[in-house]
Symmetry: C3
Subunit: 273 residues, 3 copies
């Protein structure tokens, strides 16, 4: 996390500034079909940044709800068959309506069911796929090192796989780790924001995916949306870590930071290259 990277390019800083500004002006409705563990915290992260979250999963209404949303986030953390069907229907509807969507393949590689489900959802062509290195490798069909839902693989090892996935599925792939990487198959952006205490709070990766949905709702360049989300979440984590004594207070301080920081502050603190 030391300053071993180039300065943030002006166009990426501008992207962060613009994304935060537009989220706060538009309060985009972000439809989340996510796991039980993080529903509360991801809703709060979206609200704190300025978006409008809604968790809706019933087959009786899921497509109707996607249709009125500005972005969709699908997270398989506590998947089960009915929920997977809801995720698939919502994704299809999102595609039909040109609504961008994010796939978070939590724990892909840990079980066959989880890997198969992640791949079936990837085949529906999410706008952004966001996971740790193990998950991205598993979804890409390569041996990973998933331990439960946490990654043990290096993010460098996953960039090749991410590039192939991005090209094959025409999506943007985000690999989170000590240094985050996002690629649309042609361009690559790295993000150095974040703090080592963050993985000690459950669901911050899920919150990043949710915030990525909010960024996609207001930014048509998916790589820029992904980079903005990485910088926003990582910056909030850094500011929170300065104030926190441990993971309990970190979680709360992150929500406060997402709420308090101005677009200019997010842009100034972004470490994107």
């Amino acid at each position: 996390m030391a300053d071993v990277h180039p300065s943030t390019a002006p166009h990426l800083a501008a992207a962060v500034h613009g994304v935060v500004t537009r989220i706060r002006a538009a309060a985009p409705l972000v439809h989340s079909i996510t796991n039980y563990v993080v529903m509360n915290t991801t809703a709060n992260a979206l609200l704190a940044l300025g978006a409008s979250p809604a968790m809706v999963h019933a087959l009786e209404e899921v497509e109707d709800f996607t249709s009125i949303s500005s972005a969709l986030v699908v997270n398989i953390g506590t998947l089960s068959p009915l929920w997977v069907t809801a995720m698939q229907r919502a994704a299809v509807r999102a595609n039909e309506r040109g609504i961008p969507w994010v796939l978070d393949p939590v724990g892909a590689g840990a079980t066959a069911y989880r890997t198969d489900t992640a791949r079936a959802l990837l085949a529906l062509r999410p706008t952004i796929l966001r996971g740790n290195a193990s998950e991205i490798l598993a979804v890409a069909g390569e041996a990973g090192g998933t331990k439960g839902v946490d990654s043990t693989a290096g993010s460098d090892a996953a960039l090749d796989a991410a590039t192939r996935v991005a090209q094959q599925h025409q999506c943007t792939v985000v690999i989170t780790g000590a240094v985050d990487i996002a690629t649309d198959g042609a361009r690559v952006v790295h993000c150095g924001n974040g703090h080592p205490l963050m993985p000690r709070v459950t669901g911050l990766g899920c919150s990043l995916s949710a915030l990525t949905g909010a960024c996609l709702a207001v930014e048509t360049d998916a790589l820029h949306a992904a980079a903005a989300a990485l910088a926003i979440a990582g910056t909030a984590g850094e500011v929170a870590a300065e104030r926190a004594k441990g993971p309990g207070t970190l979680q709360l301080e992150m929500l406060d930071a997402l709420y308090q920081l101005t677009p200019a502050e997010f842009a100034a603190k972004a470490r994107l290259w």
Copy 2:
């Protein structure tokens, strides 16, 4: 939120005082069938005030559990068919046993399934119906302005609908907004407590509905129970907002305030007219 309202009438201040005193003495069991997003935070709000929460939804036990509870709270935030059946059976049992119950029609108006479910539950005659203006208008069968699960309609526009619903279904209707309104179809009470930061925390409306259940468990005049809950939640939010830097700390400070404030402090801070 400025002081543009009459002083709180002595009988309403007395109701707040009595409700808090009795909740803390009796620790009433409040059976909640609510949404995944807020289960933790509403349980904590009930515990902080002094009630005893329980979340139970299986068809195999839901009626048994309602039977031993002092109040029931039904919240359709993340509804699905089995859960709706559980809500309906619990509501029928509550009515059979004379146990008061609260209906929170989260997101009514956003999808047909949500609106239809809310209306079917309203037909089972809750003691109190609590929603924002859009939700109350949707349940009443009028065009609202629901955006996802947040309200865009004015609460004034909803008072007429609320009055009709209250009269038709012999219940008390609460419309929350910048100024909250409660009516039993004859009497009307306004509440000016609250703080603009509160909507930036997910589920505070759901927590209000849960606290309304606790108040109903110890207060047979449903309008007074509704008014007390509005004043209690709003006062806790005001005290918390003075201490909080953002929505993250607000949520925690609210729980502390619900726990710390005395019946006399809640009564003194109430702004009811």
Copy 3:
């Protein structure tokens, strides 16, 4: 909670020290099938102490996931039939693979469904059964005083039942209360750690069960694992209560304490006899 107990025996202090040290070194994967209310807070408690939590319940993967875990925790707080089947299959798999598991019979005694389910799971022979006095009495087949999901029975009254259950099912039984008791049917350990504010936060009993799973993952003597978990959770609660103004801040401070305290500090603060 006054010092009315003997000093902690050296072997118990050593057990606490060793358990914390090993959890932090190994980050054991703890598979939790638990209730919606506490999923987030128990995941955070496990992460704060140093374990690696995962919540997985789908029948399509639950056994696969148990197989790769170091411990399993089963908590029936918001049970329903499919989840109960998942719990049973995971427990059977854990037994087949020699993976230790914890049963938390939340609310046993409150409804027949809950009591029957808890007994059916107990028949699958958990390594540790952890509940309050009412729950243990209900599972043991004796009249308890369950009020909702909170205990009204004294823990002394439950020790006899716990000893019989421990002997009959060859497991360790933990009864939590003002003074906690653990027995394997032969030995008995008491724990005096904890603070009266803790029951005002939802799910701290569930967090204790989760932490017990983490301790079992690194300690083959189940009674020592149970004692260590009691001392760890109680100590974190004591440290947090010194810093907290109410239940809201207590919850966060507990996570910080679980993260901050060293093995030596946990061992020194343990009150086990």
